[in-house]
Symmetry: C3
Subunit: 423 residues, 3 copies
Amino acid sequence: MELGEAIYSLLADIFPICRSVAGEGVRETLRRLQREIALTIHEVPSGTQVFDWTVPREWTIRDAYIRNEAGERVVDFQACNLHVVNHSAPIRAILPLGELRQHIFTLPEQPDRIPYRKSAYDEAWGFCMAHERLMALPDGLYEAVIDSELGEGSLSYGEFYHAGASEEEVLLSAHICHPSLANDNCSGLALLTLLAKALSGHKTRYSYRFVFAPGTIGALAWLARNEAQTGKVRHGLVVSCVGDGGGPTYKKSRRGSAFIDRAASHVLRYATPAPAILDFSPYGYDERQYGSPGFNLPVGLFQRSLFGSFAEYHTSADNLDFVRPEHLASSYSMLLAILDVIENNFTPQSTMMKGERQLGRHGLYIGGDGSPTTQAANMAMLWVLNLADGQHTLLDIAERANMPFADLLEVARRLQEHGLLEA
Amino acid sequence: MELGEAIYSLLADIFPICRSVAGEGVRETLRRLQREIALTIHEVPSGTQVFDWTVPREWTIRDAYIRNEAGERVVDFQACNLHVVNHSAPIRAILPLGELRQHIFTLPEQPDRIPYRKSAYDEAWGFCMAHERLMALPDGLYEAVIDSELGEGSLSYGEFYHAGASEEEVLLSAHICHPSLANDNCSGLALLTLLAKALSGHKTRYSYRFVFAPGTIGALAWLARNEAQTGKVRHGLVVSCVGDGGGPTYKKSRRGSAFIDRAASHVLRYATPAPAILDFSPYGYDERQYGSPGFNLPVGLFQRSLFGSFAEYHTSADNLDFVRPEHLASSYSMLLAILDVIENNFTPQSTMMKGERQLGRHGLYIGGDGSPTTQAANMAMLWVLNLADGQHTLLDIAERANMPFADLLEVARRLQEHGLLEA
Amino acid sequence: MELGEAIYSLLADIFPICRSVAGEGVRETLRRLQREIALTIHEVPSGTQVFDWTVPREWTIRDAYIRNEAGERVVDFQACNLHVVNHSAPIRAILPLGELRQHIFTLPEQPDRIPYRKSAYDEAWGFCMAHERLMALPDGLYEAVIDSELGEGSLSYGEFYHAGASEEEVLLSAHICHPSLANDNCSGLALLTLLAKALSGHKTRYSYRFVFAPGTIGALAWLARNEAQTGKVRHGLVVSCVGDGGGPTYKKSRRGSAFIDRAASHVLRYATPAPAILDFSPYGYDERQYGSPGFNLPVGLFQRSLFGSFAEYHTSADNLDFVRPEHLASSYSMLLAILDVIENNFTPQSTMMKGERQLGRHGLYIGGDGSPTTQAANMAMLWVLNLADGQHTLLDIAERANMPFADLLEVARRLQEHGLLEA
């Protein structure tokens, strides 16, 4: 099965689960991912203080609906888990429509879509529904039932570690707290899980740490528990919304010119004519936490369409039709290309610094047709050799030559084989 | 009375006075300003050497006119003091028109306006008049009378000092040598005088020094007399032409990236969609002297329309109709906003550097309507907290967040009150 | 005789000679240049190893043709030396057209032009001809004769040294290995020769070294023989294709911001509205060798049309009609202007750093008409004086003032004469 299909299939598998900041939904999702990779599940008890935040209670949701006087469910959690405000307090009441409306959220500008809304840190209850459906409800009494529970328990997050030659780490992080939203972030979870699975079979230079945690509080919990180890994180990416056809988007780490920022910008420039390369801002996903001043980790955000910028964002339209296997596959390729830069960058050293090399003598000159391709291949060799002075990494060379890192890496390896370069 | 009106009123008061580089005109103007603030008047004797320049003689002007054969004044200093070349030598002669013309200056391209012209450093005499009036003069003999005197005396300049908490100074300087030109520079003199008056009632971080001096030689005289003290000048602005509706214009100090350059550029960018932010050049007003290499003070130039770029510049059209209270008021606001950055910039330090703050827990989250205004208010808090690492001043943060300094200052103060920040 | 004509005349003189990488053609050319300047001719024996390259054998070419069955020369080296592949191995054979074609090179897209092609480092034989002539050849047998010899001997290069006040050198280099191509590079050879001749009569600050050497291997031979001395090269230019009307083009040295890069960019910006200022790349002429990482000399490339970018490049159309005396003259002027910056740049020091100078008092103020020219002349004085703080060279000042170096140099000299500046 093709890779894009495989990611899509895993994504579709976890899509129906009703996740929230803490509770069975996250645990069920993590268990599903454990079928693919040896994920460790960590539990952080409710009430634990993590920096400025407190781990919330677990949310259990069994059922939720609004029933009209005829006993028909006009809003039904069983049909779509976005119908209940995520982490909602329980309710069981009969109310006139006018009063009930104060607890119903809609999107008047997208009247056929159910919004996604959450209430993780206050005790409140509510429903979400399509605006046109709400408008169609006749006055009268309605029975509002949210059969939920907010109780002591724990917040769960998953962690997968792939040991490389070095203890220095690449951190890859995805949020796991959203219910049935396909792009945000079943896509990120599925993609990273299959990336982790693929990595397991390979020797790598860096060690890789995957964190699947509820947004904000989950990332903070991971940071709090691993505070002494965060110095090992040399490069990192938060990954979300990677199943749609927009973008790609890269939002830089707080540092702004970290290696990950250069590598991701470089790769995306060759992946698409006009990628969105954005400066850091303290709003978005968990790059905010990794990039809080006390950590300031070099962690950027990789997405297709930027969060908040597409109409399906945080609505019922972010469903299994919105994400496509081919987009997941291309997101995977871009991510891999970024990691390839991280894994393979080095400082080549020419074995003869004086004068140009006579490529023909070494059987390296690509002659003949003078086509753009052979010209580029020769230029790549000339660039690598010219800048292989021990002062430039391969990414430095790629940036200056305005050529893809992958091409120069291939060239550098051939030059190494022929003894013209050493590392 | 509204501030713009108050500035306009003072401006209108000093407008009629016939100032020149040295003489009673300047003194009379300074005395008028003394009614508002405790201005010290300094006198520098004629002939005093200041650096490469010599203080010129005082100019006394009693009357000046050109009379035709019928005894009618066809040019009359009493009607407009621009009619006589400023600092003109005396003359009393009867001449044929052809000969007289060699001493008459006009603006052929603005035939209804009288030019402003001066002759401070050579002994010469002359008149200025509207070109169309000159063209209309019939041939014949004319009596040219300039009842002036160039004599030993002194050059006068005014100085006002407001002591702040620190001995470090902000220098605010306006030239006082132009006769009846409203924008250039009655506007600057009136605006700075009322600013000085307003400051007197306040505690400030910096000390403020106001210098009202004749252009070039006056600024040089101040520099020469205060040479040892110039090191205290941390920030400065030359202020002129602040009553018209153009610009705003900020011309950078010679240093190019002094704090005043950043602060003024920042403020003007939020005051107007396309402010003119100009690099330093050694032509203009007294920023040239403050920015001569031996001083190199961080002093920029603040204007509305750039000198020399508006048709009324140095003509009789630079009159009380050309300047408006509302422009004076908005210039005052911009200047104040620049001083606010200087006064209030500081390096905030977050009291918890790890992880984002839970704003809601501190009663700081501005919830609800999701409007651009509330979003911006929340973003402002996130930016300040994210960069409050002891490495960034508030202006650094404002530049990176691309948000107005004033907004971030308000936010920083609220965060301080809630204990999330300290200075 | 006007300079452009003189350069053209020398160019036309050497144009017919059949040069190659090594052999009599180069030697004959160098001897011709010796009639103008005291050129030293160096010989490097065949087989000598220079860095990664080996000096090739000498090529002797006596005659070459293709004769049809009627005994007519359908391709004739006597008519144009581009007809034989440069450095071709000898051949004497009767072949059917189909077989012969594998040794014939044409330009199908420029069917009336003969391409220039060389084979310096493999043993091969071949002819070049106009595509339309080849197409017109009837099938049949042809006699192919290349009466050449590849034998032991030496590679020749010429060197001219002009001693200046300093041992620090300006390197000017032109390739001499191309046969009858007028722009590439008879133009460079002729122009530099007459520049060298002109310099001989002058005292200069720098010493000047001219190298006329076969491309790549010749420059490498010079580098190898003068390795210990290359540190003296402070500035340098490779000069080629300076007789056409395109460009001008300046390709920066590998360093990217060497003084020569700034000087050449500055001069060309005032020579033409949109000069091509290109970043270094490791493809082109001998700036590649001078800019190999082990040398990294500050040597750029000066051209009119960029190599490879004009249709006549490496074809028989690069002939005496393609280059014009007026273009040679303007190239010479630009080159001289660049050298003028190198020769005359200095760090002026104002003799009075405090306050602006009173130019009138020193008889320096250019008064009166207020025309752009006199304004610029006054601004030039103000800029030089303002930045003559011992921290800025004249080129720094020219860049910041956005004024031509030559104008500021004139101004600086006048200021020096009046005692306002010292070096």
